[in-house]
Amino acid sequence: MAVFRILQGDRGSQVFLLALTVTLIVVPVLATLPADHALHLSGYSLTLLGKYLTYALLAVAVDLVWGYLGILSLGHAAFFALGGYAMGMYLMRQIGDRGVYGNPDLPDFMVFLNWHELPWFWHGFDQFWFAMLMVMLVPGLLAFVFGWFAFRSRVTGVYLSIITQALTYALMLAFFRNEMGFGGNNGLTDFKEILGFSLQSDATRLGLFIASGVALGVGYLACRGIVESRLGKVVVAIRDAEDRTRFTGYRVEHFKLAIFTFSAVLAGIAGALYVPQVGIINPSEFQPLNSIEVVVWVAIGGRATLYGAVLGALGVNYAKTWFTAVLPEAWLFALGGLFVLVTLFLPRGVAGWMHRVNTR
């Protein structure tokens, strides 16, 4: 079977996918246990786990472009946020006339801004299928246009990193503007339901958790498939010796563009799953810091392994949750220290370290 062929010889991926499958079976069982049971998983923990899974998917997307293609994107959170906004727009339309102002045609913030009709780009978002299409199309299109310009003119390395950062920064500034029509500073929030299911109910939360897990699994397999394919070989060749690959006759920019766009779409899907679970999307998601944090998850987990990215995303975010609850002051120290220590002492991340320990 194709899946087995993809995973052949990659112990890390096998272990990860096994663990993911087990989690997707065990967690629903634990969540449906009666509330007073010792092993009961609360709705809060469930949402938290779901959130981590969407982060993991984002990290996988970043690992694909950074680890295999060699492009350090400091703007992937922008694709994540755009997917999130597309989902947020659908959820806003689902509120209908249950908003504070009770306007059936306009979201609350538009009524507040004295707008009288829905801006053109909000049309269609009351349809789930359209919103899902946009979740993939908007980040994908942005990545395509951006990459088409950047790769064609051979902007590489640090320059590319910096302009991806400028991209997300510009988007953040733009989304902060009320005139943009995305809720300005406050973003989109106060969601009620998705596809008719209330977002407050534990069953919906469980559904979103499973959806996130499945998306992560499928996204992971897709990336793994790309990496194992002949396309993946070319991609790695581009990372290691771009000029040689070009001289061998490959259209390097086409490969880069394809992978970059695919990765942006994955990030957009992650964002779309993230928003209903946390219940809000606002422009701070575009912060350059967020994109860099994702890169750190990947760096800590281990580049060019995919499962390392998942490991890093889960580990760092668990640490973040723990620190912000127990020692909020120390979180940035810990995160900053991790950046420095990992780059100095674990250049291949935790995954690389485990690999070395295993093969010794």
């Binding site: 400028a166 750190v296 760096a299 780059t343």
Partner: protein
């Protein structure tokens, strides 16, 4: 009780004071008799007479009336300066300067004036310098006339205009006269006056012309006024552009200051220092701490902060280079991550050690105020200092790189490390010093920024993206590129602002730079030669 009421009555009744004034000068006596009386309508005329009299102390007397220090001794009728001393007043004869001893308040007659009279006196006092030897004072007093236009001004100014030699004062006088004539009944005089007003930028001139252009009965006058207004509008627009240019240059200077340290570490060394913003922040905090140590002398504290911030940021920079970056040479993306970690640590340090909130940094006196070039253009001193400071720092850095031994070694290492080492350059030491230099400059930028924006833990983050944009736009490894790039982006930003709004202007600039990099991936001034490859 009855006694009190009687006393009150005495005070209120006009006849309470006999009006005796005896200065030895009958004209002065007559004037002050009116002034000490209760007929306010006559007082204005008396004041004008006083101003017109040849008496040498007339302006002092007027000032005395305005401030209330000038009193009349009821008993002898002499004019005295009254100085409060305890419950009593010390009286000194105004004309002779002879001390007359202490008096109770009711022995001294105060000269009552109202707000209208105060305006009259101020108007008169404003013109006192019309005959001053100093052209600047003459100009000031003519300009004071401009603020309170009155028909009497023509008689005051016309003879003086003939004698006036200073062109600026002449121009102002002509404007005042012309403004008076704009109100004339004869259309010919009004036409001439319009020609005289010309393209003056004074708001009063514009207001007068607007009135004429809208409602003058004579069509020729109306047309002339409209033409003159058009010319004035053009000039106002021109000066508005100059002001925008000035704002743009000052914003650009801030960008250059923030970016120039980065131009060294990123441009010359190829190290991406994401902690650069936090090194700027350290400089700003150093300014704050030095001001805390020297709370009385903000100016001195600011000057001391420049070398201190250079040292603090420089030392931290060297520590970063020795501790982390030197292990990561040749791996730019890893350097980026590690220095980003350092930036988080530095930010949190500032939050923990000093305060998570912004801290106040005072501006010294010489930074406030502005230079009024003309009525529509004023340039604030703090912006001028920033531009000047930016140019100084740039020149200093340029000299260090081009004229010193360290500069030579830095350039050698950045062009060809292996070759430089073969020639005996201690490259590790040069790396550390270069990084220290770039970081120190960031600290100096922090001192400048502390005078312009809020000083807080997030100061650095606000500038990091902008700084990178400037360096990349200008061309890596090229100081001139950073200067031109920074100033250019600043000016472009300010010119876009009125048209697109502040945030949109910034977004447009970012998009522009992103597109520009596509077109010229090596920036405005690309580095030439083999060093550029790679």
């Amino acid at each position: 009780m009855t006694l009190r009421i009687l006393l009150l009555l005495c005070l209120l009744t006009p006849s309470a004071y006999a009006g005796r004034v005896d200065t030895g000068d009958p004209r002065l006596d007559a004037i002050f008799r009116i002034l000490t009386g209760n007929h306010f309508a006559d007082k204005a005329e008396a004041l004008a007479k006083l101003a017109a009299s040849p008496h040498p102390k007339r302006y002092e007397l007027l000032e005395g009336v305005l401030s209330g220090r000038l009193r009349v001794l009821k008993k002898s009728g002499r004019l005295v300066w009254a100085t409060k001393k305890g419950h009593k007043y010390l009286a000194t004869d105004v004309l002779s300067g002879e001390p007359l001893g202490e008096f109770k308040r009711r022995k001294l007659k105060k000269i009552a004036i109202n707000n209208r009279l105060r305006r009259v006196i101020r108007g008169i006092l404003a013109t006192r310098d019309l005959d001053s030897g100093d052209p600047a004072r003459r100009l000031k007093s003519v300009q004071a006339l401009l603020a309170n236009p009155s028909p009497a001004q023509a008689t005051l100014l016309a003879p003086r205009l003939e004698k006036e030699t200073d062109p600026a004062v002449r121009e102002a006088m002509q404007l005042v006269l012309a403004l008076g004539r704009l109100a004339s009944d004869a259309p010919r005089v009004r036409l001439q006056a319009i020609a005289m007003v010309g393209d003056s930028l004074q708001p009063v001139a514009r207001q007068a012309l607007v009135r004429l252009a809208a409602s003058d009965p004579d069509p020729r006058v109306k047309q002339a006024a409209q033409d003159a207004l058009g010319k004035i509008e053009d000039r106002v627009k021109l000066f508005a552009q100059i002001e925008t240019l000035f704002f743009g240059l000052s914003l650009g200077s801030v960008l250059v200051l923030a970016a120039i340290g980065l131009a060294i570490t990123f441009g010359v060394m190829g190290v991406i220092n994401m902690a650069h913003g936090e090194l700027i922040m350290l400089g700003a905090y150093t300014t704050y701490l030095i001001q805390r140590l020297l709370p009385e002398t903000t100016g001195l504290a600011l000057l001391l902060a420049i070398p201190a911030a250079f040292m603090v940021s420089g030392v931290v920079g060297i520590a970063i280079e020795r501790g982390v970056i030197r292990f990561l040479y040749g791996r730019p993306l890893e350097t980026l991550l590690a220095t980003f970690g350092i930036s988080l640590i530095l930010q949190q340090t500032a939050r923990t050690l000093i305060s998570p909130q912004n801290v106040p940094v005072a501006n010294p006196g010489f930074m406030s105020g502005s230079w009024q070039v003309n009525p529509v253009l004023s340039l604030t001193y703090n912006r001028m200092y920033i531009i000047l400071f930016c140019l100084l720092v740039f020149a200093g850095l340029f000299l260090v790189l081009k004229r010193t031994r360290l500069g030579l070694q830095v350039r050698a290492v950045s062009q060809n490390r292996a070759m430089a080492r073969a020639m005996g350059v201690h490259s590790a030491r040069v790396d550390a010093l270069t990084f220290g230099l770039g970081s120190g400059i960031a600290g100096i930028a922090g001192v400048a920024l502390s005078q312009l924006t809020n000083v807080g833990p997030n100061l650095g983050q606000a500038y990091i993206v902008d700084s990178f944009m400037v360096v990349v736009f200008g061309g890596v490894g090229n100081l001139w590129g950073t200067l031109i790039g920074g100033l250019g982006l600043g000016v472009a930003n300010k010119f876009l602002e009125p048209w697109a709004g502040a945030v949109m202007a910034k977004i447009l600039i970012l998009v522009f730079v992103i597109l520009f990099i596509q077109k010229r991936p090596r920036g405005l001034f690309p580095q030439k030669g083999r060093a550029a490859e790679g």
